[in-house]
């Protein structure tokens, strides 16, 4: 256990981060601070800083749309989106903090385990946006007020409707192992994508590594981001995806793209993407404003309508035509277990898929 914690902190997270972590681990932090609203003073202070740097793993066009909606609401505060896979975001922040570079204001990761690590390292600031305090269910916010679930979705199977008839489409993960899918499957990588890291954990727990060994024998096309398999389906490059973002499938199918989702009978891996701000944020007020805005019903409705994501904000409405979230059979998420097993998962995965 201890070994994995050290490795998770990483070689490149230098002494400074560790020093902070020991300083703060002695303090007792049992309760979150009081909720903060978006006040005119906060907006003013944010405007003085003029920008906010947002590290996220959400699909780039959507990230930029969220950024633009924030800029439209708070003119004078520009958002710079730093988008890459969640595992890369994690490495990047570790590498930067290890070198005393504090560039990130707000982070949003698709691997909830990252927030456990950052919290343990004492990097996160306790800041509770009003909507989080008022509306968010307990299991979707940190008891110490350092992060909350900005977005929720599932990793799913999907297919290209031009290449596969609905009745012939796979219904379950087990169906993917049928020889007829050999050479026709695309999947993303847990070393890059937090979504796939989380999904791989849940699938190896529920289905066993044997499933992946058989899947690898199907000559899968290996891409990196969990946003990429849906796009490869839309191109017609592969017929079926074994994992990838449900929200990209919604985006593509609702704009006329030839893709359709499948919710596997075994259950679809549940992915939670928290947002939190950093203590050493270079633009702390803009960071607070951005965090606060992220959890408003307005922003949450946007990520549903435009992004195809799910929201834990009870005042949002699901978009008609999509399978309601409650009806989807999901696998259980367990960020603490992912945190402990992530290195092992990556190693095992590389052994099986060779890249």
């Amino acid at each position: 256990m201890k070994g994995s914690e050290i490795s998770r902190r990483g070689v490149l997270v230098g002494s400074s981060a560790l020093a902070i972590s020991t300083t703060f681990s002695t303090k007792v932090m049992s309760a979150a601070p009081a909720a903060s609203a978006i006040t005119p003073q906060l907006i003013e202070a944010a405007k003085k800083e003029g920008k906010v740097v947002w590290y996220t793993s959400v699909d780039l066009p959507l990230a930029e749309k969220i950024a633009k909606s924030f800029e439209a609401k708070f003119p004078g505060v520009a958002v710079r989106v730093e988008r890459t896979g969640a595992e890369r975001v994690f490495q990047r922040i570790g590498q930067e903090y290890g070198s005393n570079i504090h560039a990130v204001d707000v982070a949003n990761s698709s691997d909830a385990a990252h927030f456990i690590v950052w919290k343990n390292q004492g990097l996160l600031e306790a800041y509770v946006p009003e909507d989080v305090a008022k509306f968010y269910p307990t299991e979707h916010k940190d008891p110490d007020g350092m992060f909350a679930s900005f977005r929720v979705w599932v990793s799913i199977i999907a297919y290209n409707t031009n290449l596969v008839k609905k009745e012939e489409a796979p219904k379950s993960f087990a169906d993917l192992l049928d020889p007829k899918w050999k050479g026709k499957i695309v999947k993303a990588h847990p070393g890059y994508s937090g979504t796939i890291m989380t999904a791989t954990y849940q699938m190896q727990r529920d289905l066993g590594w044997g499933f992946f060994e058989k899947l690898a024998a199907q000559n899968v096309m290996q891409v990196q981001s969990s946003a990429d398999p849906p796009k490869r389906l839309a191109l017609g490059e592969r017929a079926v995806m074994a994992d990838g973002n449900e929200y990209n499938i919604f985006q593509i199918s609702e704009t006329g793209g030839p893709v359709a989702p499948v919710y596997a009978t075994e259950g679809s891996p549940l992915i939670v993407g928290p947002t939190g701000m950093f203590k050493a944020a270079p633009n702390p007020n803009a960071a607070r404003l951005f965090c606060n805005y992220s959890f408003t019903a307005e922003c949450q409705q946007l990520i549903i309508d435009v992004g195809g994501l799910r929201s834990m904000h009870p005042e949002t409405k699901e978009k008609p035509g999509r399978t309601p979230f409650k009806q989807i059979k999901v696998m259980k998420d367990d960020p603490a277990a992912v945190e402990k097993m992530s290195d092992e998962i990556k190693q095992h995965y590389v052994k099986i898929f060779r890249v």
Partner: protein, 571 residues
């Protein structure tokens, strides 16, 4: 030449020649630039994760299949690419330089275009063209030949596919070396052979080919090294296919949790191999020196091709379809069609991707700014350093010039990604904390550009006989002054070409940048790689086309500067 020495000794009594100190400063800079990261790599390769001495990294390297398989793959890849490049580029170079091939200058320009095209951009374009199912060429093939939906003509996600794409963007190195060498070979030598009764083939075999052989061998070597150290193309094409090359393997070792020790160990065999190859080249060619440019020779005699003129031209164009026309067309198609794999028509034309890149992509403007700043700075600094070192080694100006020459050539053996890590290790700790600034990228780009810049300028020096400098020095000029007033003007085109070469190189560079960038210091190549990993092919196409426009603008602008003449790239 011999009288230069006493003159020099006499001169010393009257003034201080500052050339020595200046040269030593450059030597020191070079040592820091190259030795610092290399030493860290060396140290890391024999340490374990806890920092204790071990040889375990090397043991794993040669016993685990996940390590030695990429070695084998890389060797096959590099050898095949070098072979293909020579087979294609040598005849083309000869056609362009020595025959009455129509539109030879256009062919040269197109080769330059393929040279300045970033290989990773070419790889992405070839994904669009020859992905087995969505590739445009495969779609056309299905239409034409009535193939079934899941049949395909080409599959770019294979080792041969990767070899093909790498060759597309490596053959210009061989072409330019061969063509330039043929350009410089005076026709009189061949004429002399003919006059003395040598037939056309005899002349070719005994005169022309031996004269070009050094360039061809050097070209094969450069092609081999390029293919071996390339990162972008394998990362784009090999990973989806499920195999690694050495560079992608090394890169994967820096993914979280990073294993720099293993990566350092994995990079050392590449370094050793390169050193051996460079020594071999030197041994083969070492004793043959040709000072062919010295006076007023006539232009080389062009061989009439007669009825083969146009077939030869068509052949060149067919070759150039692969690195230039087809990929550019695919990028254009992807930039303006709604889905990258859909053929562009008048009806589906969209500016959506252009709008996204210009108005929504918040990282684009910063990346572009960084790239232009770094390109200009690296080109200027790199040219100056390469010029001085090339001078020192060409004229053997200080003791230890061999070491300088070796140091300047050494980075060619270091895959960019490994250099990136070496620099990361070197410049994230005192006394030089540069990570997170543009400086570390500048150092990386200068170091990477140095070998070719140095070789290019050294070749230029070799073609200029030292007698002019000697004359200047006999008349009392210091070494620096004669360098500045005599040699530099003679080298003008070479210097400008080198500047251009480095600038373009910075636009193309991905492998070191991918390790060294931070959110504030992102460059365009990294942005494109990011976008590729999330599958945003439309946005890549727009940025890629923009990048090509900037590159061509720089190349053309430099060509238009009066007095500089037609700049040609040399490696």
């Amino acid at each position: 030449m011999t009288i230069a020495l006493p003159a020099q000794a006499e001169r010393r009594r009257f003034g201080i020649d500052i050339s020595k100190p200046v040269l030593y400063v450059f030597a020191a800079i070079l040592c820091v630039l190259i030795l610092l990261p290399l030493s860290w790599l060396l140290v890391f390769s024999v340490t374990d994760a806890k920092g204790a001495f071990t040889l375990g990294n090397f043991y794993r390297l040669f016993t685990e299949s996940s390590f030695y398989e990429p070695f084998v793959t890389t060797f096959i890849l590099a050898t095949s690419s070098a072979f293909i490049c020579c087979a294609v580029a040598a005849p083309m170079g000869w056609l362009v330089a020595r025959t009455d091939l129509p539109f030879a200058s256009i062919i040269r320009a197109l080769v330059t275009a393929s040279f300045v095209t970033p290989p990773f951009l070419g790889a992405i374009a070839w994904e669009l063209l020859a992905a087995p199912n969505s590739g445009l060429l495969n779609k056309i093939a299905r239409d034409w030949f009535g193939m079934a939906q899941d049949e395909h003509l080409f599959n770019i996600y294979t080792l041969p596919g990767l070899i093909f794409v790498i060759s597309c963007y490596t053959f210009p190195y061989v072409f330019v070396l061969v063509a330039n060498s043929l350009d410089r070979t005076p026709g009189e030598l061949e004429d002399a052979s003919s006059i003395l009764g040598g037939g056309r083939w005899y002349t070719a075999r005994r005169v022309t080919i031996p004269l070009v052989l050094p360039a061809l061998l050097a070209g094969a070597l450069v092609a081999f090294l390029q293919a071996m150290t390339l990162f972008g193309s394998p990362a784009i094409l090999a990973l989806p296919a499920g195999f690694h090359t050495m560079t992608t393997k090394i890169w994967s070792l820096f993914q979280f949790p990073p294993k720099p020790e293993l990566a350092a160990a994995a990079s050392l065999p590449l370094l050793v191999l390169t050193v051996i190859l460079l020594r071999a080249e030197h041994m083969i060619l070492g004793r043959r020196g040709y000072s062919v440019v010295g006076g007023k020779y006539g232009a080389p005699r062009l061989i009439p091709l007669h009825r083969w003129r146009w077939p030869a031209f068509v052949l060149c164009i067919v070759v150039l379809l692969n690195p230039v026309f087809l990929p550019y067309a695919a990028l254009f198609n992807a930039a303006f069609s709604p889905v990258a794999s859909t053929f562009l028509t008048m009806q589906n034309f969209t500016l959506h991707n252009v709008y996204f890149v210009l108005f929504e992509l918040s990282a684009a403007s910063l990346a572009l700014k960084n790239t232009v700043i770094l390109g200009t700075a690296a080109a200027t600094v790199g040219t100056v350093i390469a010029l001085v070192i090339a001078y020192v080694t060409a004229r053997q100006a200080v003791t230890g010039w061999r070491v300088l020459g070796f140091l300047a050539t050494a980075p060619i053996a270091i895959p960019g990604i490994v250099l990136g890590v070496g620099l990361f290790l070197s410049y994230t700790r005192p006394p030089f904390v540069l990570y997170g600034t543009l400086w570390i990228l500048l150092i990386a780009f200068v170091t990477i550009a140095l070998p070719s810049a140095y070789q290019q300028l050294q070749a230029a020096f070799r073609t200029i006989h030292p007698e002019l400098e000697d004359a200047s020095r006999i008349l009392g000029a210091t070494r620096l002054r004669s360098l500045w007033q005599i040699t530099a003007p003679l080298l003008r085109t070479g210097v400008i070409a080198t500047w251009c070469f480095i600038f373009v190189g910075v636009m193309r560079e991905l492998s070191a940048a991918i390790i060294l960038f931070t959110s504030e210091t992102k460059v365009v190549s990294v942005l494109i790689f990011d976008l590729n990993e999330s599958g945003d092919l439309g946005a890549i196409s727009v940025i890629g086309l923009g990048m090509l426009l900037i590159t061509f603008a720089v190349v053309i602008a430099v060509n238009k500067i009066p007095g500089f003449g037609n700049v040609r790239f040399r490696t």
